[in-house]
Every structure is written in structure tokens, then in C-alpha cells.
């Protein structure tokens, strides 16, 4: 699987929140996260009422945005989450849901990029907003 774009993701178990990349370019990425009852975070969030924490949905969107930022680069840089902007959570995500994550570049500037991000279940938006991602050594 050397062509698997996820091989460039520096995150590993238990902090990888993407299962499969469907589309990836320097402008946009689309990926899947399958949420199962085995997720450790569902054991306590919440007991008897499993809901994927919103911060982990943001993390999934940020991981994909990091892959978009590193697309085509010979050496992948660590991508840091620099800003979370106007994220709305519109429906709960739970075991059995397949989360489709989309990250699109609005603007690149130096080693920063502003992304429009979305997480969908089917055609329904679970979360959407904007993220700013910085690659290692960002300064201005």
C-alpha cells in the first residue's frame, strides 16, 4: 500500500481519525472515517449514549487538511492545527456512522492555509466550518 495517502499521515493509533482517502490534491481532500462501537472514546462519551466528540470530528478534518497541505511535497511536514473558526455541529455522530470528511483550501499564505471543512453522514452535514493549518516552522 505504498500509494496509500494515509501512509503520509504522521498520526498513528490511537489517534488516527481517517480510514480511507477517496480523493486528494493540493486543493482538496475527501476521506472516510468509519465510526464503530469499538472506539475507545465512545466508552465514556457517553456511557449508554455513544456520541463521537466534536473535537475528534475537528481532528479528523484537520488530519485531512494536513494531507492536502502536504500533497505533492517530497518530504511531508508536520501540520499543526492553528485556528478553529466558526465550526458548527449539526447532528450527532455515533457508532455505525460513516463520516465523509472534506477539506478544501480557501487560501494558502506562506506556510499557513485556511480551509473550508465539512463532515457528512450521507448527504447530511454533521459538522462544518473553517480551519487554519500551519506546517512546521511557520512564522511571519
Amino acid at each position: 500500500m505504498k500509494d496509500n495517502p494515509l501512509s503520509r499521515l504522521p498520526h498513528s493509533y490511537p489517534f488516527r481519525f481517517l480510514d480511507k482517502v477517496l480523493e486528494l490534491s493540493a486543493e482538496r481532500g475527501i476521506a472516510i472515517k468509519n465510526v464503530t462501537m469499538n472506539e475507545a472514546f465512545l466508552q465514556g462519551h457517553f456511557k449508554g449514549n455513544p456520541i463521537m466528540p466534536g473535537v475528534l470530528i475537528i481532528e479528523a478534518m484537520a488530519q485531512l487538511a494536513g494531507l492536502v497541505m502536504n500533497f505533492g511535497k517530497t518530504e511531508a511536514a508536520i501540520a499543526y492545527l492553528a485556528q478553529v473558526k466558526d465550526i458548527k455541529f449539526k447532528r450527532p455522530v455515533t457508532a455505525g456512522d460513516q463520516l465523509k470528511v472534506i477539506a478544501e483550501v480557501n487560501q494558502n499564505f506562506m506556510s499557513l492555509a485556511n480551509f473550508s471543512v465539512k463532515a457528512l453522514i450521507g448527504d447530511n452535514i454533521a459538522a462544518e466550518g473553517e480551519l487554519v493549518i500551519a506546517t512546521q516552522g511557520s512564522s511571519y
Binding site: F109, M110, N114
Partner: protein, 83 residues
């Protein structure tokens, strides 16, 4: 010229959620670093997004950014020059 300056200041306050009014921003005040408005690199990105969306000017080159993103006056001059 001053019209652009006022629009720029309004955009800075609104987009960067500055805790000041447009009257508090001097035309030649340094936007970044100590002693000026104290903006950071994430503010710079937001500023670039705002300049593109609201003034139709694009800044992607580092050398241009370092010359233009200095003060309200330098940004206004850049916008004027692109008209």
C-alpha cells in the same frame, strides 16, 4: 485614499476581532510585532483572505507580503496600485 484606509481599518477590526475601534488604528501604525497592533501570522492569513474577498487583491508572494503587510498606508498604496 482615505476612503480605502477607513475600509481597511473596518475590515481589520471585524475580521481579526480586534478589541479596538477604527479610530484607534493609526494609518502608519505597524501591524505586526511589538509596539504596533501586535498581529501574528494567523492574523496575516486572515488579512490576506480579507484583501482577496473584499478588495480583490491577491498576495501570495512572501517578498510582496513583507512590503505590503506593514501598515494601513502600505496596504492602501498596494490596493491603489492594482486599480
Amino acid at each position: 485614499m482615505s476612503d480605502i484606509n477607513e475600509k481597511l481599518k473596518a475590515m481589520l477590526v471585524r475580521r481579526l476581532k480586534l478589541k479596538m475601534t477604527t479610530q484607534d488604528i493609526k494609518d502608519n501604525a505597524q501591524l505586526f510585532g511589538e509596539g504596533g497592533l501586535g498581529l501574528d501570522s494567523i492574523d496575516a492569513l486572515e488579512l490576506v483572505v480579507g484583501l482577496q474577498k473584499e478588495f480583490g487583491v491577491s498576495i501570495t508572494d512572501k517578498a510582496v507580503a513583507e512590503k505590503v503587510l506593514v501598515s494601513v498606508n502600505t496596504i492602501a498604496d498596494f490596493i491603489e496600485g492594482r486599480k
